[in-house]
Subunit: 138 residues, 2 copies
DNA sequence: ATTGGTGCAAAGCTTTTGCAGTAGC
DNA sequence: GCTACTGCAAAAGCTTTGCACCAAT
């Protein structure tokens, strides 16, 4: 099935390098495109590459609450069994990293009872962080 | 702050009735608009009402598939704690609904250890379903 | 030399908005 | 009678796509 041979282009290399060095951020396609336009990567190519990489599991593609645009983030090569998970606060939109053994339990439970194999690297938890819960802003 | 007095219009009543009788489904704005067009509710009004109701917490607004359109669902007056969660298979992209007590445990655990209050309505689990796991990926 | 990738601009889709008319209170 | 709400259509915002050219293998 994997008959289509992919080529290594400068644009792809540029994008990957950019994503790797910004792997701690959540970037929109528009943001990425803006930053790469000076490096000779067109907007259309950015979109095409992002979709392609997401399909290959090289980057993560997701929505951050309410806002329309998709966000992308590079997935580290090394972490096959990620030791941490992601949580995004709906209010302040900050991204938190956490570790919790209950996540693994949930994973096992679902594998048994539902036959779902959760990819915790792609799953992002949404909710409210302590600060926003207390501050109680909009 | 709540100084703006809201009016009860026929359009709003029509939409709410429609959403209530379809509270088990995940509806896109486009779908809703299509169904209500014959009942004299315009598309613009549907969008305005959906946003308004979501802001008031009467309905739930979220992205389910990777695809663009937002989905909406009526929030039952009685049930504050929804009983099911969502899981999307990365391979076949189907959406699954499931119930699992471990999710609640995880929620409690994180509330205690991390001070994160997970909104399981908005959190979508990603992974691979049984069928795709067996069938081998595309 | 093949043929996948790229750039450009146009098209596509979903959602929002300006404005004038309408209807709720 | 106010003025929030609605309908219409136009506009906006994000993403995809057709086509001709370019470049990786």
């Amino acid at each position: 099935m994997e008959s289509i041979k992919k080529r290594n282009t400068k644009q792809k290399a540029t994008l990957l390098e950019y994503l790797k060095s910004n792997s701690n951020k959540h970037l929109t396609a528009e943001q990425i495109s803006r930053d790469l336009s000076s490096l000779n990567v067109s907007q259309a190519t950015v979109y095409r590459l992002l979709n392609s990489l997401a399909k290959d599991g090289k980057i993560r593609k997701y929505h951050i609450e309410e806002k329309q645009p998709m966000c992308f983030q590079y997935i580290e090569d090394s972490c096959i069994a990620p030791s941490h998970y992601h949580f995004i606060c709906n209010t302040c939109e900050k991204v938190f990293h956490f570790e919790d053994k209950e996540v693994e339990k949930l994973k096992d439970s679902l594998a048994k009872s539902q036959d779902f194999f959760i990819d915790t690297d792609k799953t992002v938890f949404y909710g409210t962080c302590k600060k926003c819960m207390q501050g109680g802003k909009k």
